[in-house]
């Protein structure tokens, strides 16, 4: 998922989205997709190209939880912490998993295999609690199910 920073490739990606009206968010998404996270270099390059300050780009990057400023693990597990999932026990399940892995929200396992992140609603409230492993959705996850899901990749 993470590839080495490459300024000219990044510039190519940015130029693809430049004609859009309000291109910053699509650019940031595309850069994260390519490089796995948004490094300081990425922020500076976006600022330079869009002729805005690096503070402004950083403000956007840090505002949205979906943007990452550190390289993630090989896999990313997003556990829903929104109301419906909470009411179905997601919080306790998640705490248990984090304890087992010795991680806090947003951390990556020392071997770099898995990053656990919170997410606030995946739109699966009817079959809560839910989570997303990489790009795949998983519903009705009890504590065991969540552990098993994480177990698939570590």
């Amino acid at each position: 998922m993470t590839t080495q920073w490459d300024t000219s490739r990044a510039a190519g990606i940015i130029s693809k989205y430049l004609p859009l009206e309000g291109p910053m968010l699509p650019i940031l998404h595309a850069l994260q997709e390519e490089f796995g996270f948004l490094s300081d270099e990425a922020i500076r390059l976006v600022a330079q190209t869009l002729n805005v300050s690096r503070a402004e780009v950083y403000g956007v990057v840090s505002f949205y939880h979906d943007f990452r400023q550190e390289p993630p693990g090989r896999h990313v597990l997003k556990i829903c912490r929104a109301e419906a999932c909470q009411s179905m026990g997601s919080e306790a399940n998640a705490q248990k998993l984090l304890e087992t892995l010795g991680l806090d929200w947003g951390d990556t396992t020392p071997d770099g295999r898995l990053t656990v992140e919170p997410v606030y609603c995946l739109g699966l409230c009817a079959c809560a609690p839910s989570a997303m492993l990489d790009d795949e959705l998983h519903a009705r996850l009890d504590a065991q199910g969540l552990q098993a899901l994480a177990g698939e990749v570590i």
């Binding site: 300050s53 690096r54 503070a55 403000g59």
Partner: protein, 947 residues
């Protein structure tokens, strides 16, 4: 005396003309449409509690403290974001809003340190005030919850600290940086509870894009962003309104004091030049006034190789006067002269030229404007009739196209640059003509439509080509020309400008600017509803400086861009009072008010007032004085507040000339470079220690007010009076206001100026007389001052200073934001943190060819001399061009510059010097010797024991 309190109306005034009447708290009030409820209430004296609102910023509506009830409307809208409506009935205070406000305040205070008694903002804290206003008595949530109290301070900026533990995240600092300063260095990092103010990418303020203008500190309602001086000294107890002594913008400040100690300088909202904004120099770099290098006792010495000897004022003054009298007795009355200072007040400058004209009996007076804007004076007098810019700064708000030539406003005139950038963000188009890619060419939210990156020394060709395009493509404003100018002169000029050598295609060979780009820029300028030209020393400091000023004046006339707001020809004058020093008659050929010394009417007026007869022959200019000194005919010089050794070109020649004189008297704050060659040193005083006036680049006369006693015992004008009396003149003034009265009664364009009028109006833009009793913001409105606008032919003559095999590169010089001119003041402040030494900017291509490394020492040589400094590799400069600043005496950039100068005014050609750059190990022999000589020349003999 007390602290000057400025009312904060919460939101900006509305510019609408339609009026709306509403009722607030049972009282009827009428305000312009679009006014916020908060502002309407404030105008009738009702303060609605607020935190995120302040009238320097657009309303934001985030703090939720200013909620009000409006009859017939649901909910409790924020009064800062709700505009007034006809017939609206508003309640700013009732049980419902009181409860809501208290609830909001409780939440703020639950995450705020309760250390008011030891807090630096104690007594001047908007959060504290708001808590008081809402009647907060308890915080039900306690203080034990999650909070930010342990957040780490950022003390990286030398002048202010950022303490996030006290931050309420109102975004006032972020918005001030964006809306007022236009740098966008701050943001809110994260969201929700984790929100915090961040500079850059979560960097220290010092390492971020922050330019330390102080707008964020000014906007902060708490102690989160606070001046270190307030943390150290405490809150001020009284203040005075005064004018900044740095650049020609002329910002108004409140000097906030504790007794005689300056606590801080805060920009004054009512200041007509700065509207409450400031830059790092004016806002923070005033510590030089109490620097340990300051000399406060007069000193004399027989020979410049002797150590200085501290003496009494009487002895120093009579020593200087006797020497001057003796020189005149032996060598004639023309053998002495003086130099006025653009850093001193109008009154002081006036007295120095009066001393020379009436006391010395000759017109040997010159000023540092010689080396900056003398071509502006000559050029604009001859075309328009006035030696000054045509507009006020606010005119930029109406400009649709802005052409900046040879000026770097973000560094040289930062507060006006912020004003200009605001207009550019509103959509005005920008053309920059500069060899270097200055920040305005492209920086956050500002981008020039055209950057005409011309070769140094080709301004005239460039401006002529712009005019050629205008005429050739039929873009001239014929109606304007027929009505305002002489049509025959225009026709003659048009025939000249249409010559093939002035076409963009032909000038491209000289300027290096592609013809198509230049034509596009010319069309943009000519087709604009309002197009304004701003220029700086990049225009004047050339062998053809005057020609460029004339070419610019022609271009503006040809397109009808003179005589109304939004247009004009605007020199960005360098020093705080360079306009004023010229106005006050500092040139050898002109009396105060730009009246030639041969003008019998003017001379008669002064002779009557001064009671002496005056010479009708122009005196010597600075370069002539130095040449005459070498010839042994000019032997005594009184220099008030100017460091000609560092600031004037061809240092070696200057030093030789001064060394040949018999008596050089230097009046200054510090032992400057020129004082190394002086026989008498008269300590000067800073702008904080005297009364007077400065005149800024928009001809605005503003008061300088004394906030502390002169450290040297006398204000500078008093020193001149003592010297004049010792020379046998009568000079009796008890206050600078009497000097201004004399200026007013003898100078028609100043007839209506007095301290009383200045106190009443705040400031006055000359001309101020019967026709314009409150002054003149925009000139030439109903016609040019000289009658008909005059087109003058401006041939392009390439400078003799050409790059060749020995010196293949062109050096151009300029300034940097944090330092000011020769640096005498800024080098003695913490501003050195940003710019500790001058560096040579060189393009990567030229650097590679010479093996130059970034940060490595290089030798810079011209036919005049050589010096060494460190290199900075950057593509800001084009290949073939190198650039440096002249802020540090050790660099001695002017050892390199040559004796070439403007054909009309002798303004030196600082902006073009053919040079070679080679590797070096460190300072050159000249620099080492110069340094050793300086140390030798600045020795002060230990006081002799009394018995």
């Amino acid at each position: 005396m007390g602290l000057i309190q400025e009312t904060d109306y919460g939101t900006k005034p509305s510019k609408a003309t339609a009026l709306v009447t509403l009722t607030i708290d049972g009282q009827s009030i009428t305000v312009p449409e679009g006014t916020s409820i908060m502002r309407a209430a404030a105008e009738m004296g009702t303060r609605i509690p607020k935190l995120c609102a302040t009238d320097s910023l657009d309303s934001f509506g985030s703090c939720r403290l200013c909620l009000v009830e409006i009859e017939g409307r649901p909910g409790t809208p924020a009064s800062c974001t709700t505009p007034v409506g006809q017939g609206m009935v508003v309640h700013t205070q009732n049980a419902k809003v009181a409860k809501l406000r208290k609830g909001v305040m409780e939440l703020y205070i639950s995450d705020h340190p309760l250390d008011c008694l030891t807090c630096s903002a104690n007594g001047n804290c908007e959060l504290q005030d708001a808590a008081g206003e809402v009647g907060l008595r308890e915080v039900r949530y306690g203080y034990e919850g999650k909070n930010h109290l342990d957040a780490e301070k950022d003390v990286s900026n030398p002048y202010f600290q950022f303490d996030p533990s006290k931050c309420i995240v109102c975004s006032r600092c972020v918005r001030a940086c964006e809306e007022i300063q236009g740098t966008f260095a701050l943001t809110i990092d994260g969201s929700g509870f984790n929100s915090k103010v961040s500079a850059g990418i979560n960097e220290d303020f010092f390492d971020s894009e922050c330019v330390s203008c102080g707008a964020c500190v000014q906007a902060c309602p708490t102690a989160t962003l606070m001046e270190k001086s307030v943390i150290e000294v405490g809150q001020p107890e009284h203040s005075e309104v005064t004018t900044c002594a740095y650049c020609g913008v002329g910002c108004t400040f409140k000097a906030e004091m504790r007794g005689e100690e300056v606590v801080r300088l805060v920009p004054y909202k009512d200041g007509k030049a700065n509207h409450g904004h400031s830059c790092v120099k004016g806002r923070f770099a005033w510590g030089y006034a109490t620097h340990k290098d300051r000399i406060t006792k007069p000193m004399i010495r027989e020979k410049i190789t002797d150590p200085w000897r501290e003496v009494s004022w009487e002895e120093a003054i009579s020593y200087a006067a006797n020497k001057f009298k003796q020189i005149q007795a032996e060598h004639g009355k023309d053998s002495i002269g003086g130099i006025t200072s653009s850093r001193c007040t109008n009154e002081e400058t006036y007295l120095v030229q009066k001393l020379i004209r009436a006391g010395f009996g000759n017109n040997n007076v010159d000023t540092c404007a010689r080396v900056c804007h003398s071509p502006t004076g000559y050029g604009l007098v001859n075309t328009y009739g006035t030696s000054a810019g045509t507009q006020d700064f606010d005119s930029v708000d109406e400009a649709d196209v802005i052409l900046v030539i040879g000026a770097n406003p973000t560094d040289g005139h930062p507060v006006f640059a912020s004003h200009m950038k605001k207009r550019l963000r509103e959509g005005a188009k920008l053309i920059v003509a500069d060899p270097r890619r200055i920040d305005l060419v492209r920086s956050p939210h500002v981008e020039a439509a055209h950057h005409l990156a011309l070769r140094p020394g080709t301004n005239v060709a460039l401006v002529n080509a712009l005019a050629h395009t205008v005429i050739e493509e039929g873009l001239a404003d014929e109606d304007f020309i027929r009505e305002r100018c002489d049509w025959d002169e225009f026709a003659e000029w048009a025939a000249f400008i249409m010559r093939k050598e002035n076409s963009p295609e032909a000038t491209e060979a000289h300027t290096g600017v592609p013809a198509a780009e230049l034509r596009a820029a010319a069309r943009l300028y000519a087709n604009a509803r309002n197009a304004a030209i701003y220029y700086g020393l990049g225009v004047t400091e050339h062998s053809q400086g005057t020609s460029t000023v004339i070419a610019i004046a022609n271009l503006a006339m040809a397109t009808g861009n003179v005589g109304r707001p939004g247009v004009g020809v605007n020199p960005l004058r360098g020093q705080n009072n360079v306009q004023g020093s010229c106005d006050m008659g500092s040139f050898p050929h002109e009396f105060p008010g730009y009246r030639h010394v041969s003008d019998n009417t003017a001379r008669r007026i002064l002779e009557m007032d001064w009671g002496v007869s005056l010479s009708n022959e122009p005196g010597l200019r600075i370069p002539n004085m130095i040449d005459a000194a070498m010839d042994g005919t000019f032997l005594g010089l009184y220099i008030q507040g100017e460091d000609i050794v560092q600031s004037d070109p061809d240092t070696k020649h200057m030093v030789a000339g001064l060394s040949a004189m018999k008596c050089v008297v230097v009046q200054d704050l510090f032992l400057n470079e020129t004082a190394d060659y002086a026989h008498v040193f008269l300590p000067g005083c800073s702008f904080l220690e005297k009364d007077g006036t400065f005149t800024n680049a928009e001809r605005r006369i503003q008061r300088v007010r004394k906030v502390m006693a002169p450290k040297n015992g006398y204000a500078d004008w008093e020193v001149t009076v003592m010297l004049a009396k010792a020379m046998g003149m009568t000079m009796d003034y008890s206050h600078p206001s009497e000097i201004m009265d004399e200026v007013a009664r003898t100078t028609p364009s100043f007839a209506g100026v007095s301290y009383e009028a200045l106190d009443k109006l705040g400031s006055i833009q000359w001309p101020c007389n019967e026709k314009a009793p409150t002054g003149t913001p925009v000139m030439h409105i109903d016609g040019f001052v000289r009658g008909r606008g005059r087109f003058i032919i401006s041939d392009y003559v390439p400078t003799d200073e050409k790059a060749g095999p020995r010196f293949p590169l062109l050096l151009t010089t300029g300034r940097i934001l944090s330092q000011y001119n020769v640096g005498a003041q800024t080098r003695r402040t913490d501003n050195v943190a940003w710019h500790g030494e001058d560096v040579l900017e060189i393009h990567p291509f030229d650097a590679e060819q010479r093996g130059v490394k970034d940060g490595g020492w290089v030798k810079l040589a011209s036919r005049a001399g050589e010096t060494s400094l460190r290199a900075k590799i950057t593509d800001r400069v084009a290949p073939g061009v190198v650039y440096t600043t002249f802020h540090h005496p050790l660099t001695q950039a002017n050892v390199i510059t040559t004796d070439y100068s403007d054909w009309a005014t002798n303004c030196p050609e600082y902006k073009v010097t053919a040079v070679q750059v080679s590797l070096s190990n460190g300072p050159t022999e000249w620099q080492t010797e110069y340094q050793a000589h300086s140390e030798q020349a600045r020795r002060i003999a230990p006081p002799v024991a009394a018995e």
